[in-house]
Symmetry: C3
Subunit: 170 residues, 3 copies
């Protein structure tokens, strides 16, 4: 199974080229490769709400990415606005990804609960916010990795109903 | 204590009679009996948002069910719309039920975080979404079962203030 | 580090003086002192939505409290309305505080999931709902205590980017 994946790094400094290497984006790419994630698009943009919204829609509507992973802009800084931008795009929320990432990280890192990361579905694309640090990206993405392929399959509408499941699969 | 309970099975196939037995609805009934749940209404309807909304309101306003448990339509399938319908009905959200069901199930079942189930209060009725499979229904309902009677009692408005609790019980 | 803290006790009975001592508010004050919390404002008001909204805004806009902790009004009682009032004030939600408090308490207290407490950011102030009982206040506040000072620092906008964090700290 191949998962068409887009990565959106949200960072005002990164978008200005003040950092030479996007190690968080690289971490996403590396981990996703394990479950068949193929990076079909990648952008670094500043913490501007309207720009984030436009990129998420473009990656879903034009690029047809099945999975869009954002990094950065999920914290308490006055400029952090990625979750609010994501909420304006998605029409179905997936709180389970959010809860699992925070609660698993919280067991070892008390500051993990400061992440305001959001996850949800827009059209046929699953959008998940990840923290901005490579360590945070790794910790969080590992937690939900196993559930992603199944979610994408059901989202495609092509998953057969499990006979064990009466009426409805989830 | 008797809890007036309504069960709403959301399943397009079930509503067409393509499944002969609603084992998820039966699982709800069986588990609820343990805490005094008396099933006063039961319906199987398709994954149609407006129909779900109308049924939830009818079960609360006309049937006066104190607890409304839905099964099905909480996943990633394009037709799954039960949480969004529920969100349009409730005026107070109860995230604790949602979190507890997902996080407990997640400990043994990685796919459990794909459930987008919602819980909340509409008028004097507590509405809780459950997954569509009997296994999912059992796993999830067991987690929150102990807290339900207390919640219903407080919702009725008849619970005495616990003397240990200064000012307010919760 | 000193954290300018305001306490808002929401209790119709408390506001009428029917309880002589606000032990929940006292518990907040005592625990917050451990991380430099300095109580700059304290009010007891009834469970009236508009009054709660007005007090939260006043404590943030006029008193300039960096942290506003409410107690009470988060449960299933028909009059409980603190979360809904808080949701109308905040413009950024902080679900991690909510999840951590409920899930940690739930491990020992099944009724903990009945708390509908909300947390979020309004302007430069962090607002967190706590339960109404002193026991609930203690249990919940202890869980999130370690993360609060870091959150406040980032909210102030004065936190240096951690060199380990590429692009963005959270």
């Amino acid at each position: 199974m191949i998962i068409k994946t887009a990565i959106l790094t949200v960072s005002t400094r990164g978008s200005k080229g003040e950092r030479t290497e996007d190690t968080s984006g690289a971490a996403v790419k590396e981990i996703m490769a394990r479950i068949g994630g193929k990076v079909v698009d990648y952008r670094v943009i500043p913490d501007e709400k309207n720009q984030i919204i436009a990129e998420l829609r473009r990656m879903a509507d034009i690029v047809k990415a099945e999975l869009i992973l954002t990094t950065g802009g999920t914290g308490f800084s006055p400029s952090d606005i990625t979750p609010e931008a994501t909420l304006e795009v998605i029409h179905k929320r997936v709180p389970g990804f959010e809860e699992a990432m925070r609660m698993q990280s919280f067991a070892t890192t008390p500051h993990a609960i400061l992440s305001r990361a959001v996850a949800g579905i827009y059209q046929s694309s699953l959008i998940i916010n990840l923290p901005g640090s490579p360590k945070g990206v790794r910790e969080n993405l590992e937690v939900i990795l196993e559930a992603i392929p199944h979610g994408i399959k059901v989202l495609r509408g092509g998953l057969m109903h499990d006979p064990e499941h009466q009426f409805n699969p989830e």
